[in-house]
């Protein structure tokens, strides 16, 4: 459900910024940027602080791990846009696209560390079933994941359960892979602020 205000309702300064992005990146402005820049005091500003904290704040999880979590949450929600976007960021962070692809294809057989696998299973369940039981948490703790790491992973899960819903609800247009690559480089260099 595309809203005209998210395409063309921005103020002059934001439109000028979009023009600069188009010139310097050689790519169209991603719909997620149009969303966070529209009436940024309502959603984009406060949400960017949540997302940056979850994705780039201090954590025992690497940036690649957290971007992989974001991609898996998006895939679970069947949000193609966010899955591709954050698979690109995770691949860049890890410098290993095969690892990301393997997880998104089959979490159970992917060649990753067991604590990460157990955590990804948990996020998938939270996302798919809306809730989890203490036994689910005990399974992750038993895999060697600390309570703080679980909280950090749940923060990623929260952020992308918001963003993915908005991407689908507002009908984000799928850009070419070059646009996602450009977006990934930006997010790895600057984060979500």
């Amino acid at each position: 459900m595309r809203l005209a205000i998210l395409d063309s309702g921005h103020g002059f300064a934001t439109k000028a910024l979009f023009a600069l992005i188009r010139v310097f990146s050689g790519q169209p402005v991603l719909d997620v940027i149009k969303l966070v820049k529209y009436r940024a005091d309502f959603y984009g500003g406060p949400m960017s602080r949540v997302t940056h904290g979850a994705m780039r704040g201090p954590s025992a999880w690497s940036v690649g791990d957290r971007e992989l979590m974001a991609a898996l949450v998006a895939k679970t929600n069947e949000c193609t846009w966010c899955t591709q976007a954050h698979a690109a960021v995770a691949s860049g962070a890890y410098r290993d696209a095969a690892r990301v692809s393997a997880v998104l294809s089959d979490l159970e057989t992917a060649p990753i560390e067991e604590p990460l696998r157990a955590t990804l299973r948990l996020l998938r369940k939270v996302t798919r079933e809306q809730t989890v039981a203490p036994e689910d948490m005990r399974a992750v703790l038993a895999a060697g994941v600390s309570p703080e790491q679980i909280e950090d992973a749940l923060a990623v899960c929260f952020a992308f359960n918001v963003i993915g819903r908005l991407a689908d609800a507002f009908g984000f247009v799928q850009p070419g892979p070059e646009a996602f690559e450009a977006g990934a480089k930006y997010l790895l260099a600057r984060g979500y602020r």
Partner: protein, 107 residues
């Protein structure tokens, strides 16, 4: 650890309690996923349960609801559903970790 408690609280306070184009009651209803009239009820339900199935929602567009109101209500619905998932998971973690799962982890 990456503590998002304050940032998340600020986000929820902004979208629900401060000035908006939709009324505070409508934004709260969208956040809670309950209490909106049709056709908004169906849209908000889809945002929470299967956003990938949302298409044009012509009935919402033709109902006279303005785009800025739709924007706010969809945001509230998405944040509300994600908050319920997050809060339920934190309670489960607290119980598993030997804490009181009903102790307030306020949103």
């Amino acid at each position: 650890m990456s503590d998002i408690t304050q940032a998340r609280r600020a986000l929820v306070a902004r979208i629900l309690e401060e000035r908006g184009e939709a009324s505070r009651a409508q934004r709260r209803a969208a956040f809670d996923g309950a209490g909106l009239p049709e056709p908004l009820r169906t849209l908000i339900d889809k945002v929470a349960k299967y956003a990938h199935r949302i298409t044009d929602e012509a009935s919402v567009r033709s109902s006279g609801v303005r785009e800025d109101e739709i924007f706010e209500l969809v945001v509230c619905a998405a944040v509300g559903q994600a908050s319920r998932q997050y809060d339920a998971a934190l309670v489960a973690l607290d119980i598993a970790n030997g804490k009181d799962g009903h102790a307030a982890r306020d949103s």
